[in-house]
């Protein structure tokens, strides 16, 4: 009886000592902590390896794939944009050449019309000038004739006034010779 009491007291005292000291060094709780630690680690390991890690790994891989694809698509679009710009520039250059050609043609056409009109105008002017020349010549001829007639009449009048018998034919011949003279 007495020994039992003493044993219980000693055990109690030891327990108290454990409480009073560092709980970390109370070895009576070690099996409990180790058991629950192992359970916890196993549970976390299974949660991670069965569910979480494959899922996150898949998401990361998918994201990487998506980004790679998107970057490739962006690169392709960029190439297309460059090609489109090239085509645009080509078209612009072609249009410019075309426009220059049209301008040249138009200029040639206008020049041709202009030349034709100028030639026609020159011809008309030349015709008018020739006609005027003819008229002037006619007028001059008319004047000479009139002068001849007046000179013959005057000569006949003078001859008869001076008392001579004016032979019309010889007077005319003399006046004509004089006018030629």
């Amino acid at each position: 009886m007495a020994t039992e009491n003493t044993a219980a007291e000693v055990a109690g005292a030891a327990h108290e000592a454990g409480k009073a000291g560092m709980p970390q060094l109370d070895f009576s709780t070690f099996p409990n902590q180790i058991f629950w630690l192992v359970v916890t680690l196993v549970v976390i390991y299974f949660i991670l390896s069965r569910i979480a890690l494959p899922r996150i790994g898949a998401v990361l891989a998918e994201r990487k794939g998506t980004m790679t694809n998107d970057l490739a698509a962006a690169e392709e679009l960029k190439q297309k944009a460059v090609a489109a710009e090239q085509a645009y520039n080509d078209a612009l250059a072609r249009a410019r050449v075309e426009a220059a050609k049209i301008v040249a043609e138009a200029r040639a056409e206008i020049q041709k019309d202009l030349d034709k009109a100028t030639a026609k105008a020159d011809a008309e002017i030349a015709a008018k000038a020739a006609e005027s020349e003819k008229r002037i010549a006619e007028i001059r001829a008319g004047a000479v004739e009139a002068v001849t007639a007046v000179a013959k009449d005057t000569a006949k009048e003078l001859v008869s006034a001076l008392g001579g018998k004016a032979d019309a034919a010889s007077v005319n011949a003399a006046v004509a010779a004089r006018l030629k003279g």
């Binding site: 560092m22 709980p23 099996p31 180790i34 629950w36 976390i44 991670l48 990361l60 998918e62």
Partner: protein, 257 residues
Amino acid sequence: MAGEAHSEGGLAFHPLQQFEIHPLFGEGPIQWYTPTNVTLWMALAILCVIALFVIGTRGRAVIPTRVQSVAELAYGFVYKMVEDVTGHDGVKYFPYIFTVFLFILFSNFLGLIPGSFTTTSHIAVTAILGFGVFIAVTLLGFILHGAHFLGLFWMKDAPLALRPIIAVIELISYFVRPVSHSIRLAGNIMAGHAVMKVFAAFAPMILISTIGVVVTPVSVLAITAIYGLEVLVAFIQAYVFTILTCVYLKDALHPGH
């Protein structure tokens, strides 16, 4: 203990009380299977893992939600650490290392909740983690390399005369690894929490004595500062434990330095 507390002028100093383990239901001796506060806080760590890594990633979104991106960040952080330290052939041990990392990380952070219990402050827990890593890595080294694993201790580039001496030193340091590995974690966490508790005990001084006008604000400020430090320590210790695990694993995978 109680007498000492009274001699301090009515202040109650029980900085180690927070580390006590007691059954969750009723009183009585703690058997190995008894649900205790250890069980509770470890279960909460599991719940945190589930919340972050199972519920948080259930969308499997290519454009992640905030929770999912945190989970991805943690995954990428540890994955890169394992890959960088151990090389490409160490990646298949990533789930084990990630398990240890998350357990320590969540235990440390859950322990920062006022009134909580910190499982990683117990040497029994960290010693199992530390020695678990040690035994696993040593076995792995012998399984992968057989007797060549002992080349880890035999420096081929040292002078021949020095090699036995170096081998002894290397051997001792190798066996000290699990001890330092586990005590570093438990010691850091326990010390921080105990110091916080000591300052907390000084905080009600203003109710007892006029000197409390000075002591109380100082201790409140100190608790705040140390709490901030402990948040840092909670992460850093999880990181340190994990990266050392990777380093030890690297030795087992590539013992030829």
